[in-house]
């Protein structure tokens, strides 16, 4: 587990950073915790003092980040053009959308892929959509049905060298988002120098980012800054925000995540308090030592992430369906993930999978 360098934590909390006398370790931490732009800005503003060599390294990383973001923007435009031909549309989630909206310039918010949300009206046509975006690949015949039944929440695609995470479900926590139409109908068009994209309403974006932090086990410090940016920059409607979270029954993960960010960044905002059994188990799984573990912490995240859906309030039917989906995935899901070859025994695969999954969950919960 690689916790952020003390100077990084101080910078993120908005305070003066202590002197950095181990620049090599500091730079490793900057990279791991996706803080390049924030540290470079702090250096240029004099909040932190680095050697010229270290600053140039950051400058080079900054250029690489901006280069990647330009590619993401090009890919977003390409996807929009391809989907117009099949009468579908997408919104851009997180990444470059969050950056364009809440940060000052390109490359300030590290991102590694392009997250898109498919318009609800196109869900029944998922097969044609994914073929339009990433043609030439083989997709399972049951794809449309999986998406229509809300069993498949996303798919990884490629546009050129850019990895595209196409969400069929905006929140992607395992449970189907209840307010799908509200999420889409409240999107707004954001005009930028790099193109116009549809983005989420700020309140829903905040929820999505908090859940994403939770899913990632709060591994990296950089994404914490998104929350601060939105709180500082968005005219949030807190009644709407609380109502949205309550309607999804995701109070525990959302408000616990909010409280986590508030503590780490020293924010004055107070999240609604969450108590009860689910709050207690959430703390055991994602509290304290589990946070800010960098790449190592992130590597362990997928195992525990599967338990996130169980922290919704109620939604027994959805939870049962999610547990069934995880333990006994539908054949097309396994084929899509490349885990089941044609002719391979479905039942035999499931039995082996069940044994492995149980072992992983036990190990993950104990870490």
């Amino acid at each position: 587990m690689t916790a952020p360098h003390a100077a990084l934590l101080a910078l993120a909390a908005g305070g003066g950073a202590p002197a950095v006398d181990d620049e090599e370790a500091f730079l490793r931490s900057v990279s791991e915790h996706r803080m390049t732009a924030a540290v470079l800005a702090a250096h240029q503003q004099g909040t932190i003092r680095l050697s010229a060599d270290a600053a140039l390294v950051l400058g080079t990383w900054d250029l690489a980040e901006r280069r990647d973001h330009l590619r993401f923007w090009q890919a977003a435009g390409e996807v929009q053009a391809r989907l117009a031909a099949v009468d579908a549309d997408v919104a851009v989630l997180k990444g470059i959308a969050t950056e364009a909206r809440w940060y000052d310039e390109l490359g300030q918010r590290a991102c590694t892929d392009l997250d898109l949300l498919l318009a609800p009206w196109a869900l029944g046509d998922a097969f044609r959509v994914v073929e339009a975006i990433d043609p030439g690949r083989t997709y399972p015949a049951g794809l449309d049905r999986l998406v229509r039944r809300r069993l498949l929440q996303h798919i990884d695609l490629h546009v050129g060298t850019v990895q595209v995470d196409l969400h069929f479900d905006p929140l992607k926590v395992g449970l189907p988002t209840r307010q799908l139409d509200e999420v889409w109908s409240s999107t707004q068009v954001l005009d930028t120098a790099h193109g116009s994209v549809r983005v989420l309403r700020p309140e829903i974006e905040l929820v999505l980012l908090l859940l994403h932090l939770n899913k990632d086990r709060f591994a990296f410090l950089g994404p914490f800054l998104d929350i601060r940016r939105i709180l500082e920059g968005a005219p949030l409607d807190w009644d709407y925000l609380c109502g949205f979270v309550a309607a999804e029954a995701l109070d525990v993960p959302v408000w616990k995540s909010f409280a986590t960010v508030a503590v780490v960044l020293g924010l004055e905002h107070e999240a609604p308090r969450v108590t009860g059994v689910r709050g207690w188990t959430w703390e055991r799984l994602w509290g304290g030592n589990a946070r800010l573990g960098g790449d190592e912490g992130r590597a362990r995240a997928p195992t525990v992430q599967r338990l996130l859906a169980l922290h919704a309030s109620g939604r027994v039917g959805d939870k049962a369906r999610e547990v069934r989906r995880q333990l006994v995935p539908h054949r097309p899901l396994l084929e899509l993930a490349g885990r089941l070859e044609p002719g391979q025994s479905y039942v035999g695969h499931l039995a082996l999978r069940l044994v492995r999954r149980s072992r992983d969950v036990m190990q993950g919960a104990c870490v």
């Binding site: 470079l40 250096h43 010229a52 400058g59 250029l63 690489a64």
Partner: protein, 103 residues
């Protein structure tokens, strides 16, 4: 190497050079790092090189040269030679280009 001598008479206050759209750059502590998106090559300039490029892309070349001569207390011909070399290197690397329509 491209011969791209500078210092011709400017037509107006428009800079004679620009950093092309396919180049990303960042100034850090007076130095500059550039990335050519077409070739994926990075290029670093020390403080003097960065100063020269900044001036050449902000004002006509003649004005830039005059200011550099004054600031660095150097012979005009020596400076012109060094700047020519730098400009040629940057133009060859696709990191700098003459403003279209210039003389």
């Amino acid at each position: 190497m491209t011969t791209d001598r500078i210092g011709a008479e400017p037509l107006d206050d428009t800079p004679d050079f620009e950093i092309p759209a396919h180049v990303l750059y960042r100034e850090v502590d007076g130095e500059m790092v550039l990335l050519n998106l077409e070739t994926e090559h990075y290029f670093g300039l020390d403080a003097i090189g960065a100063d020269i490029v900044t001036r050449l892309t902000e004002q006509p070349a003649k004005a830039a040269l005059d200011a550099l001569v004054a600031d660095y207390a150097v012979e005009l011909e020596v400076l012109r030679h060094d700047v020519d070399d730098l400009v040629a290197t940057l133009v060859d690397a696709g990191l700098l280009e003459r403003v279209e329509g210039f003389g």
